[in-house]
């Protein structure tokens, strides 16, 4: 940046002909020479003539100079073409709902196959898609502006959705306008708690909703009800008649709709956020709002202070909110290094980003499904390295991760490995096999041949020189992470991971994700909550040192009783702090038959092979370090005592209807 000072230019706009310099300047040179010829003899007159001559010459020079100044000044007043914006930028259109009007005209429609809500003639919800959008649709309007602040659908035909609805409705601030409407069926799993809540909102029909009833409701949180219509289903096999509710909603003043927080920069952000969206709980509480600025302790000797952090996000603003809270609470975070990349022009995620005062970038979606995610990743990574041209690394996060309090401390202690060891591909905060029952030691790191993702560090040179130029093009429907794991990309390099993960994958809704899948593979993942963990022996993670370390471990490990069933709990003795080794059959480098079965019965990730290092897996069982070596493919097979026969587990016969493709991230 450069600062420049302009001294007064006030006297400079002399293009104006009224300026005295201009009018009096002219006659002087022409009138003075007249006196010259008439001057007589005598010293006094001669002196006077000389003086006159000098003044005239100086005058002429000054006039010329001034005229130059004037012409320059004239240039100034020319239209400043170079400085004009050729586009003539348009003001953004104002949102509907402002103006003198104090009443909203609301229409709500409920039926078997279609719901819609219109506010002042503008449709804010319309859903007539087949086979989706079943349940209770809820819309929250700002009581002062009529803006839609939240739009949700709770499939209360299915279990537990009513609990989510209760949670959501409880979070809505008093005074907001609530609109509910049912599509298809909304009562089957609508339990008493939810019905009681509907009753407390003043609804007559809500608590008595029955199978396939239609229902439309408009009310203010905390009363009064502004309109309600309900039609009972006459029989099990049929639906209630469609209902159309038309009602007027009086708007209240902006004063009433807002909280009286102290006027600070933070609260200005909070106010902007809270007047636009709903469903974020106590962040918008008038009395006791939860903080939006966290001042985690700085990290002494923070090696990742200047590493940019890219948060890859879609349209899951509630996830993003949770994620950013944990990220900003992590020790050693530097908010100005964070950029949130949003795939699509969604407003609400952008609002969340603004609430925390972070930088947000939107991305026009390219392609579909997995390829869309992949293109979003590419654009985000390229942008990150463009925005931080001096950065040698970038941290890549996703919107559905909790970040451990020592996430940056973990990276700060390990990032030098990426610089010093060419055989490394990434550092990841996630251990695919690190479940509650299989991870134990937060100070322990591993080298693995798989790339876990879910919070990881990418080297600039790897991205710019190798990955970016050949990133899958939009027409290839590939997962970016599966692509990164392919041998052509990974080229034998490994990733560093912690035993206990520094990120936690909480997303249940996602492109490749569903509730069952999350429950089975992610929920019981171990997540470090201890601050300031000192990592042990970080340099032993380098290529050669790690081999020494593994050999040491294997030498001191006790061989387990291979006659026992490895799936039985008793396979490992009830000890603590010991190291055990088991040998399993692994004919070739890519033979994971027995490992997959073992992983299945250990209840860890079994959908593909993860966490291996040259045919070795490391995990914890009953607080003992448990090593598994694949024989004979692993070079560590030499450690197998001749008497031991490697364990072989038969894969079960193929079943129909096994759970579908897995989330890979």
């Amino acid at each position: 940046m450069a600062r420049r000072f302009l001294k007064p230019w006030a006297g400079r706009d002399n293009g104006d002909p009224r300026n005295p310099a201009w009018t009096t300047g002219r006659p002087a040179p022409s009138s003075s020479p007249l006196g010259l010829g008439r001057s007589g003899a005598g010293i006094l007159p001669t002196g006077a003539v000389l003086f006159l001559l000098v003044t005239v010459i100086v005058n002429i020079k000054l006039i010329l100079d001034t005229r130059r100044a004037i012409s320059e000044a004239n240039e100034d007043s020319e239209p400043e073409q170079d400085y004009d914006d050729p586009l003539g930028r348009l003001e953004p259109p104002h949102r509907r709902g402002r103006g003198p009007q104090r009443v909203l005209d609301v229409e709500v429609y409920s039926s078997r196959s279609k719901v819609y809500v219109a506010v002042d003639g503008t449709t804010v919800l319309e859903d007539e898609a087949r086979e989706q959008g079943r349940g209770i649709h809820v819309i929250v309007l700002n009581q002062a502006t009529g803006h839609v602040m939240a739009k949700r659908v709770f499939d209360t035909y299915s279990p537990h959705e009513d609990e989510a609805m209760v949670l959501f409705l409880n979070m809505v601030a008093p005074g907001r306008v609530l609109i509910c409407t049912i599509k298809d069926e909304g009562s089957f799993h609508l339990k008493d708690t939810a019905k009681a809540l509907l009753r407390s909102l003043g609804s007559q029909a809500g608590p008595a909703l029955g199978w396939r009833d239609t229902w439309a409701f408009v009310g203010r949180k905390g009363g009064p009800v502004l309109g309600e219509k309900h039609s009972k289903s006459p029989a099990l096999s049929s639906w209630g008649d469609p209902v159309l509710l038309k009602t007027d909603v009086p708007l209240s003043s902006a004063e009433e709709a807002e909280c009286h927080w102290a006027d600070t920069e933070l609260n200005r952000r909070r106010r902007r956020f809270c007047s636009k969206v709903e469903g974020y709980g106590s962040v918008c509480s008038c009395k006791d709002p939860t903080p939006i600025e966290f001042s985690p302790d700085p990290l002494p000797d923070n090696k990742v202070l200047n590493v940019p952090v890219a948060v890859i996000a879609g349209n899951r603003p509630n996830y993003l909110y949770r994620m950013l809270r944990s990220l900003l609470s992590a020790q050693g975070v530097s908010p100005q290094m964070i950029t949130v990349f949003i795939d699509g022009y969604y407003e609400e995620p952008m609002d969340v980003v603004a609430l925390f005062g972070l930088r947000g970038i939107q991305h026009t979606p390219i392609s579909i499904k997995n390829a869309r995610v992949s293109q979003h990743y590419k654009a985000s990574l390229t942008a990150t390295f463009n925005l931080f041209p001096e950065a040698r690394f970038a941290v890549v996060l996703e919107e559905d991760l909790d970040i451990a309090v020592d996430f940056f401390s973990f990276l700060s202690q390990s990032i030098h490995l990426l610089e010093e060891d060419d055989s490394l591909y990434c550092i990841s905060a996630w251990n695919d096999q690190g479940y509650e029952h299989t991870a134990e030691d937060p100070a322990l790191l591993y080298r693995v041949e798989t790339m876990p993702g879910l919070g990881w560090v990418l080297r600039r040179s790897l991205y710019k020189e190798e990955l970016e130029p050949k990133w899958p093009t939009p027409e290839k429907l590939w997962d970016w992470d599966m692509w990164m794991r392919m041998p052509e990309q990974r080229r034998g390099r490994e990733c560093i991971i912690p035993d206990v993960s520094r990120s936690y994958h909480f997303g249940i809704v996602g492109l490749n994700m569903n509730g069952y899948f999350h429950e089975a593979y992610f929920k019981k993942h171990k997540f470090n909550t201890v601050p300031g963990v000192q990592l042990r022996n970080v340099d032993s993670l380098k290529k050669e040192a790690y081999e020494v370390e593994i050999h040491r471990l294997l030498s001191e490990a006790e061989t387990l009783d291979h006659s026992k069933n490895p799936c039985e709990d008793s396979f490992l003795p009830d000890t603590e702090g010991r190291t055990y080794v088991a040998f399993i059959q692994m004919e070739k480098e890519d033979d994971f038959t027995t490992w997959t079965q073992l992983a299945k019965c250990l209840h860890i990730w079994d959908l593909d092979v993860r966490g291996n290092h040259r045919g070795l897996w490391r995990l914890f069982r009953k607080k003992n370090h448990f090593l598994v070596v694949g024989v004979p493919a692993s070079p560590y097979s030499v450690k197998k005592p001749p008497s031991v026969t490697p364990i072989f587990l038969e894969p079960p016969p193929k079943e129909e209807g096994a759970p579908g493709a897995a989330e890979q991230t």
């Binding site: 600062r3 001294k7 006196g35 100034d76 170079d82 400085y83 004009d84 930088r359 947000g360």
Partner: protein, 393 residues
């Protein structure tokens, strides 16, 4: 009587003239002070990067002190090259004035290629064109690019500020700092029409060409020789913001007056042996160096005439000379494959001279002796000179 009259007239004239002189002197002082004022203090701050809250604080404090402020912001050009990203706008200029003083704060943003960039001071439709005399500002008429200076702290008027360690270098850069952005939008349209070549060979060539260009730039920078992207490399930049994968070489232009005799040695030391040398310093000089992976570096030397520039070509077999004429041009900075490099500011004229009006359509077969519209025969080298002007290695 007449004598008294004469004296009176003389006295009157002298008086008027002196009075006028005084007035003029006063007025001139005013003018001078404005002019000098504009040259005062050119301190450069140190913050690189962007922290929105901090900037806004600065802005607010100035306004609270009674300054009237104008803030110019725009899209982030660092995101422009990437498919359809749109971020929050970045600040480019702040101008704050208080009575007759103004502070112009230019925000320099760091970009890929180890350089700093500042934006164009572009006024929006409704802004006040007389807010300050914009033409008097040293920065903002055009976007600019500067080498990333090493900063050090000094105390000016009791205030700790950062200035470039080599202030002269920074000041010398100012008049030649004009920057032009690649035409990313047009490049995208181009790729929609012709699709990008993503074959392994194309990517390998791009990588080698990029490395060669970086090596050439480094070598020339060490020698202090200005160069610009020429021919196919320039077309690639202008048309598709990238290296044309089938172009097979990297083309640079250098003004003959910048020629230095140790250039060949320097390239050889950098691992780029001379492949051929055509012409001589006085006429049609052209050097080719052999890069890695069969990528060639061609350096054309440009000669200036009163109304045009030209560079020469030589056919090795026949000794025929060719002349490629270009309209006169000046040099601007741009960003190309993560580097700050020069291109002709008058790019379109340059490219149309070389490739004609149909430069937008990719052509894979190109004969340097006949295809360019600006080529003309230029006689034949005398056989006695062939040893000097046609050197093949």
């Amino acid at each position: 009587m007449s004598r008294i009259n004469k004296n009176v007239i003389l006295a009157l004239l002298t008086l008027t003239s002196s009075a006028f002189l005084l007035f003029q002197l006063y007025y001139y002082k005013h003018y001078l002070s404005t002019k000098n004022g504009a040259g005062v203090s050119k301190s450069k701050g140190s913050r690189i990067g962007f922290d929105s809250t901090q900037w806004e604080d600065w802005f607010r404090i100035a306004e609270n002190m009674g300054f009237q402020c104008l803030k110019i912001q725009s899209k982030d050009p660092r995101l422009d090259g990437i498919d359809s990203l749109s971020g929050t706008e970045i600040p480019l200029h702040y101008i704050c004035k208080l009575t007759t003083h103004a502070i112009h704060l230019v925000v320099f943003h760091e970009r890929s290629g180890h350089y700093l960039w500042h934006g164009h001071l572009r006024l929006k439709g409704h802004s006040d064109r007389k807010f300050v005399p914009f033409r008097k500002l040293h920065f903002g008429r055009y976007p600019g690019a500067f080498d990333r200076p090493v900063l050090h702290q000094v105390i000016i008027d009791g205030l700790e500020v950062h200035i470039p360690k080599d202030p002269m270098h920074f000041l010398e850069e100012i008049p030649h700092s004009r920057f032009i952005e690649c035409r990313y939008k047009e490049a995208r349209t181009f790729f929609q029409q012709y699709l990008d070549d993503n074959t392994v060979e194309a990517m390998a060539f791009r990588k080698s060409a990029k490395e060669l260009l970086q090596l050439a730039a480094k070598t020339l920078k060490k020698l202090g020789i200005r160069f610009w992207l020429s021919s196919g490399t320039c077309l690639g930049w202008y048309r598709q913001c990238n290296i044309i994968p089938y172009s097979k070489d990297v083309d640079l232009g250098i003004f003959i007056q910048d020629y230095k005799s140790d250039i060949i040695i320097a390239f050889q030391d950098a691992g780029l042996p001379l492949k051929h040398k055509f012409g001589k310093v006085e006429d049609s000089l052209e050097l080719s160096f052999q890069g890695k992976d069969d990528v060639k570096l061609d350096i054309f030397f440009f000669y200036e005439e009163t109304d045009h520039m030209w560079n020469g070509g030589t056919q090795a077999k026949t000794g025929k000379k060719f002349k490629y004429k270009f309209p006169k041009f000046t040099l601007c900075w741009t960003e190309f494959v993560d580097m700050k490099v020069h291109v002709p500011c008058e790019t379109i004229e340059y490219i149309e001279a070389n490739y004609g009006k149909t430069w937008k359509i990719p052509v894979k077969t190109w004969d340097w002796k006949h295809s360019p519209p600006n080529v003309q025969p230029n006689g034949v080298w005398p056989v006695s000179e062939w040893d000097e002007v046609i050197q093949l290695y």
